[in-house]
């Protein structure tokens, strides 16, 4: 999957099949065809529920909004294979709880939104952001990653106004 962005830049996901790159991006998880439990990241094979012997995990979009379970902020550049920008700019990460799916998913937070801006229980919404940029076979390419951004009022309402 690739999406053309403005200025002749091509956008591709940094990992295939985990999230969409459209205007309202969402994570792609799996749901067990038999017991209905969810998994993320997407995968094939056995259902993780010990009471279920299904081998059929079906791709499914996950909720775009959830609430902060916890968060942090990296003050030092993580080691490879993270491709840290130079100079390194601190950034935040948040683990967000999705109510319907009953899972918590860890992700980066958009640049400029720091730990001091976050709080356990805060509503968040899925977006995408540039992880790194590289010329691949002569094509200027942005490798995109999903991020959790503080949700606007509309999104906050759709998760029941929890805070």
């Amino acid at each position: 999957m690739s999406v053309s962005a403005a200025g002749g830049v091509t956008r591709v996901p940094a990992v295939e099949g985990w999230y969409t790159l459209d205007h309202e991006p969402h994570l792609i998880g799996c749901r067990c065809a038999v017991c209905g439990t969810y998994v993320f990241p997407p995968r094939s094979g056995a259902c993780p529920n010990p009471n279920c012997d299904s081998e059929e995990l079906v791709s499914t979009p996950l909720s775009r909004v959830g609430t902060v379970w916890s968060y942090t902020e990296n003050q030092y550049a993580p080691p490879a294979p993270y491709r840290a920008a130079e100079p390194f700019e601190p950034y935040a990460l948040a683990a967000v709880q999705l109510e319907k799916e009953g899972i918590i998913v860890l992700g980066q937070v958009p640049r400029g939104i720091m730990a001091a801006d976050l709080k356990v229980g805060m509503p968040m919404q899925l977006e995408t952001d540039v992880l790194y940029r590289e010329v691949v076979d002569g094509v200027d390419t942005e490798f995109m990653v999903y991020v959790w951004a503080p949700a606007g009022p509309t999104a906050a309402e759709s998760i029941g106004g929890r805070s």
């Binding site: 940094a14 990992v15 295939e16 017991c35 209905g36 439990t37 969810y38 998994v39 993320f40 990241p41 993780p48 529920n49 010990p50 009471n51 379970w69 916890s70 968060y71 942090t72 902020e73 990296n74 003050q75 030092y76 550049a77 993580p78 080691p79 490879a80 294979p81 993270y82 491709r83 840290a84 950034y91 935040a92 990460l93 683990a95 319907k100 799916e101 009953g102 899972i103 918590i104 998913v105 860890l106 992700g107 980066q108 730990a115 709080k119 356990v120 229980g121 992880l131 990653v145």
Partner: protein
């Protein structure tokens, strides 16, 4: 004493540090020390349970035979175990199973490591299907990121402060001051911690444990063998329980190195989370309770994680760990000293040796040999640790 108790006949360690030498050098020092402490010869050992290191090539993956060969092939049976931070306890469990099954009477449990500088990074190469590789690549989710999220929850839910976390460091730095095996032996003040740079907010450099070289070994035996050798087992430390249980689905805490938790959509969370169940399985096996414990050695990968362990161990209720710490109960001289050795805070983590080192410390404490850090009158203690991929352990030792 129970027929299922194992006797700790000898323990030995190589000091923790950072020298980058061959891990077997450290291991041999620990092995010889444990044999000497036990008062037996290498040729008396019938089983070697080695805790593996995954950063030292083939010899590291087969630690049992590596040390059996280094000590000189004596025909002993062997096993080699890798279970992340719990590797040493899984090795103890293998030795214990062999002894309790009657296959042997005398076993050596050993682990040693040499570690790289800085953050633990994944093994090299591009592996887009390996979650451990991808968490670094997509998120920059280092180990401290996960520790920091646990710490942040304590702050937002229970009102913990950076000063509380610093108090854990101050306590452990005092405990480890006189421990000859500790790598960091310097007393820290609250200000030292608060003035150290933030690594992963809210955790600072001095809140997070380092990676170290080190080695630990012990000689464990059947009750019959020890009775024959020692006459009386009065005052001799015994392994009362070894818990190596795995999580029960669904696991609802975001643990290293995962991107996501299990789902609670169709199965409700278990009554006890993973770390609680590790400790409680040990209590149940020993027929003991938290109030029977005079001390604990826990995996303080971060200062805040030590506070989590107070609650997992049942030393206090959830949300009360900061109060327990501030009361002085978990310092030497208090009701239940935690990490009298100085903990990972003073040692740094030498993965395959660490769970064994925890048991070595309890052994010295129970014998009254923990000079400069003695928990007076200690009769029983518990260890706890947890590592990647559902590995963890808890061991109870008593006299």
């Amino acid at each position: 004493m129970s027929d299922r108790d194992l006797v700790v006949l000898g323990v030995g360690m190589h000091p923790w540090g950072k020298w980058g030498r061959d891990f077997t050098e450290y291991g041999m020092v620990a092995a010889r020390a444990a044999l000497k402490d036990a008062g037996i010869e290498w040729k008396d050992v019938e089983y070697v349970a080695g805790a593996d290191t995954i950063r030292n090539g083939y010899p590291g993956f087969i630690a049992g035979s590596t040390f059996a060969q280094k000590l000189g092939w004596n025909g002993a049976s062997i096993s080699s175990n890798y279970a992340a931070c719990a590797s040493g306890a899984h090795s103890l469990q293998a030795a214990r199973a062999s002894i309790l099954a009657g296959f042997c009477d005398v076993a050596m449990v050993i682990g040693a490591d040499t570690t790289p500088k800085g953050f633990f990074a994944p093994v090299g190469g591009e592996r887009k299907t390996d979650p451990d590789w991808l968490r670094f690549h997509l998120l920059g989710a280092t180990n401290p990121v996960y520790f920091a999220m646990f710490a942040r929850r304590r702050m937002d839910l229970y009102g913990a402060t950076s000063e509380d976390f610093a108090r854990v460091k101050v306590k452990n730095s005092r405990h480890g001051l006189n421990n000859p095996y500790a790598r960091f032996r310097k007393e820290n003040a609250i200000e030292d911690v608060l003035n150290s740079p933030i690594v992963s907010d809210p955790l600072r450099l001095l809140d997070i444990c380092a990676t170290s070289d080190g080695a630990a070994a012990m000689i464990v035996t059947s009750r019959a063998y020890a009775e024959k050798k020692l006459g009386s087992l009065n005052g001799v430390p015994r392994i009362r329980a070894v818990s190596t249980v795995t999580p029960t689905y669904p696991q609802t805490i975001l643990e290293l190195p995962d991107f996501a938790t299990d789902s609670t959509a169709v199965v409700s969370p278990p009554a006890r989370g993973f770390k609680d169940s590790l400790c409680w399985a040990a209590y149940e096996e020993a027929g003991m309770s938290p109030s029977d414990m005079n001390m604990a050695e826990v995996y303080d990968l971060s200062t805040a994680l030590e506070l989590d362990w107070y609650e997992h161990l049942g030393l206090c209720a959830p949300g009360e760990a900061e109060g327990l710490l501030r009361s002085g109960a978990t310092a030497i001289g208090g009701r239940v000293p935690v990490n009298p050795s100085g903990g990972l805070s003073c040692f740094g983590e030498a993965i395959p040796a660490q769970a064994i080192a925890q048991v070595c410390e309890l052994t010295w404490q129970l014998r009254g040999q923990a000079q400069g850090r003695q928990v007076e009158g200690a009769k029983a203690g518990i260890t706890a640790n947890q590592g990647l991929f559902g590995n963890g352990s808890s061991v109870i030792v008593s006299v």
